[in-house]
Amino acid sequence: MQFEASNLIPVAPELYILGLACLVLVIDLFLDDEQRIFTYALTQVGLIFAIFITLSVGQTEAQIVFDGSYIRDGMSDVLKVSIYVITIGAFLYSKEYLVEHGLFKGEYYVLGLFAVLGMMVMVSAQSFLTAYLGLELLSLSLYALVAFDRDSKAGSEAAMKYFVLGAIASGMLLYGISMIYGATGALNFTTVTIALTETGMEDIVLVFGLVFVVIGLAFKLGAVPFHMWIPDVYHGAPTPVAQFLGAAPKIAAFALAMRLLVDGMMPLHSDWQQMLIILAILSMALGNVVAIAQTNIKRMLAYSTIAHVGFIMMGILAGTPEGYSASMFYTIIYAVTSLGAFGIIILLSKKGFEAENLDDYKGLHERSPWFAAMMMLFMFSMAGVPPTVGFWAKLFVLDAVVGVELTWLALVGVFFSIIGAFYYIRIIKLMYFDKADNTLPVVGNLDTRIALSVNGVLMLALGLFPAALLTICVRAIGG
């Protein structure tokens, strides 16, 4: 491979984030606790700047660099921008919580930025190895973030579980990749695709490789039966970390699925479609049913994530551009919605008190009509009730599934969303129909309040005008 400076332009955003992370790390060393706000501000401004850099290097046609192992295309641009936006949102929500819980440290932002970098690499991966590198960078940052509250036993336990299961998943993925390498002799997606078209599914090694890759993916996405880590990690991690974990990495996991399955192994579509159908149905069934039994809102949201992953997979398994763009829309919307739902938990949590039991939401409407209304919008959006945007996300996925004559799967999907509606409206019932145990007004930091209001109104605004975002998704996939 010859070095060419022009190769670096498509990866400018990645280089920039890497530089930013290092800069934040170094600068933070020279700051004492009162000046920590500077680290925060630098991170946020830096991320906003990243949006412009990504948009300015973006072009319509795809660019593949570094010997076909790295790609910058429409999908990667859109996903990267949404990752920045969601990370900015998550940092905005979390500042007050971190300060109150004594977690307001520079490392939080450094690890966050490295996680963002990992996600960007996953989003732009064009070979199995690149994808794996990005995934590991993301995972290692997240393990550390989950254990960020060093004094919390639950946090350490969650991090340990996450680490062990994550390592198993990475092992599975690598094992699968090695088999595919053995069968096709290549690691980058273009060559693998060509090789697969020639050999087809004759090769038993390929089948095994595919199975292991799908298992690794399912672990990372949190699809049943590889979902066990999700509830524990969401429950044990500090709330802002759970918020970040539940939103941005979902986008990266979607990208990983797209890159590995669609870019890498499209000739095996009919095989992985079968596997994804099973995973999707199991996820929707188990996620929605078990969520009903939860009394802890973080665990409830964890199971709800599992159910949503089922829906995201339904779009991917359709195997059509409509399906991919529907899935992409769904993932972005889900990430934004879940950001808001966790935002409410952060808003209500005080020093020494986590608003994580469902009963803590009783009578929220009395205490703060505005934020109760926002939470209602998040819940209706997750349940898929119009006029919130969650409805359109579900609709587009169902549309794609019916489009490939899998109407029965769409029926299964809607059936489980009826079950799902129950636990979402239970939150609304608690907020609106029950009497509050305490009538303290909700006081929150201005950052959190603004973020929540924007986030909640977005649910309604996108629900009334979904066309713009959908068009962006369709263009990103098509181009």
């Binding site: 489009g403 129950f422 409206i425 129909f433």
Partner: protein, 504 residues
């Protein structure tokens, strides 16, 4: 025909924006929110009247059409328009909402602004359901409708409100998601989301039957038809008076409207095949639910069951058409059936609203809905007693009231199909008279049973205006139904011609 003003959009968005404003203002100045709600409701009604005035009843074409692209990628449009079937229902909606606002005037003390706002938003959304000509737009309005009603029952309802409202939400949500899949399926068959394009779509019998069943799940829950009616008595009993009125007067009609707009024209052959199912369910509703109503101890429950029985007439009238077509070539009978069903819907909108308001008047004073707590109300509330007896008579189908017209038309149509259908349907006149009049006898007449009844105050001017206006509406429609029938005639005839042509 395009009007200069986007009247339909105004009718939809004016109350919604008014409701949003009310939410923003809140309860800071106590009476302002009530007056603002009333002004919005009246203004909306006045605007919707112009639909009637500008309506061309000689054509079955959609009128007051508004079209704009909404989600171009999926061909979803903001596409509104009315014909003779939907227009009367829109005016019914705007008319009834005024009384709901007035009825809640003094009674609702807990967050009145939010209460009024919920009803105004509800009004706009329900008008949207009737006016939408794009399937997705229809579905969005259809589901959005659940949110305000869910909150109304849950926040201002009775002691068992949480159970009732969650049951209501899940039942209707369950019904409608299958309709969503059917709509998506047809989108792929036709490449368009227009309801009118679905009407023209050629479908095989198996497809039609699946689509018909998906729609049936949605609409039968909404109407509600036996055996999926059980949410209705719970919801009615727990809902505040205004909620019961909207539920009975308008929400139930949306189910009936759905049969006319979707099931019958989209799947005519399946409707023909499965008409026995609907007719059977309707007759069970009419007869069996009538008997169930007879034994109720709770006034609201009794009226709720009577609503189910009356809606049974509506669905019977709609689907008897297929039997008539099979028996003879007399299309007159078929027109009679559908128009009878429509008249019955509008009339039931007035009467059930009035009945629930009557119960509301009593409940506000006595805080009881048990029939046994009352007796001899006429001695202390003569004016009210007069109204209640009148509305009860209308509910029982007394000639001269609107209740008679619809039932009579449907029974006449049933005769053309099958004597026994008509016979069974006609027995409801007896059962209906029995349960309504027996209730009136126990509540209104007789001796004054207890001190509470003794100290009752007769209705005030506000209540008099509400009940008086509804009484006038019931009488006018009963004595002179021609304007309503005239408006819908062209649309009904064209619908019948459409469903006669097999799609196979």
């Amino acid at each position: 025909m395009t009007a200069d003003w986007p009247i339909l959009s105004l009718t939809i968005w004016l109350p919604i924006i008014g409701g949003a404003l009310l939410l923003a203002i809140g309860d800071r100045c106590s009476n302002a929110s009530r007056w603002m709600a009333l002004a919005t409701a009246i203004l909306t009604f006045v605007i919707s009247i112009s639909l009637y005035c500008g309506f061309d009843s000689s054509t079955a074409q959609m009128q007051f059409v508004e079209r704009a692209p909404w989600i171009p990628v999926f061909n979803v449009e903001y596409y509104l328009g009315v014909d003779g079937i939907s227009m009367p229902l829109i005016i019914l909606t705007t008319f009834i909402t005024i009384f709901v606002v007035i009825a809640g005037w003094e009674v609702i003390q807990y967050k009145p602004a939010m209460y009024m706002a919920a009803f105004l938003i509800m009004e706009g959304v329900m008008v949207g359901v009737f006016a939408a000509l794009d399937a997705m737009l229809f579905y969005v309005f259809w589901e959005t409708m659940l949110i305000p009603m869910f909150l109304i029952i849950g926040i201002w309802g009775g002691p068992n409100r949480v159970y009732a409202t969650i049951k209501f939400f899940l039942y209707t949500f369950f019904g409608s998601v299958f309709m969503l899949v059917a709509l998506i399926y047809m989108y792929f068959q036709s490449g368009s989301m227009e309801i009118l394009a679905f009407h023209e779509l050629k479908l095989g019998l198996t497809e039609q039957i699946f689509i018909f069943i998906a729609f049936l799940l949605a609409f039968a829950v909404k109407v509600p038809m036996w055996p999926v009616h059980t949410w209705l008595p719970d919801a009615h009993v727990e809902a505040p008076t205004g909620g019961s009125v909207i539920l009975a007067a308008i929400m139930l009609k949306i189910g009936g409207y759905g049969f006319l707009r979707f099931s019958m024209p989209i799947a005519p052959d399946a409707s023909q095949e499965l008409d026995w199912l609907i007719i059977g369910m309707s007759l069970i509703a009419v007869v069996y639910i009538g008997f169930v109503a007879l034994v109720q101890q709770d006034m609201k429950k009794l009226i709720a069951y009577s609503s189910i029985a009356h809606m049974g007439f509506v669905t019977l009238g709609f689907f008897i058409v297929f039997q008539i077509a099979a028996n003879s070539d007399a299309s007159g009978g078929a027109i009679l059936g559908i128009e009878g069903g429509m008249v019955q819907m509008v009339s039931h909108g007035f009467i059930s609203a009035a009945m629930f308001l009557c119960v509301g008047v009593l409940y506000d004073r006595m805080h009881s809905r048990q029939i046994s707590d009352y007796g001899g109300v006429i001695h202390t509330m003569p004016v009210f007693g007069g109204f209640m007896v009148f509305f009860a008579m209308a509910n029982a189908g007394l000639p001269g009231t609107s209740g008679f017209v619809g039932e009579f038309m449907v029974i006449l149509a049933s005769f053309r199909a099958n004597f026994w259908f008509a016979f069974l349907a006609a027995t409801t006149l007896i059962v209906g008279a029995a349960y309504t009049l027996w209730m009136v006898k126990r509540v209104i007449f007789g001796k004054v049973v207890n001190d509470k009844v003794h100290s009752l105050q007769d209705i005030n001017r506000r209540e008099f205006i509400v009940l008086g206006s509804l009484a006038v509406a019931v009488l006018v429609l009963g004595l002179w139904p021609a304007p309503l029938i005239e408006v819908m005639d062209a649309s009904v005839v064209s619908l019948l011609e459409h469903i006669k042509v097999s799609k196979l």
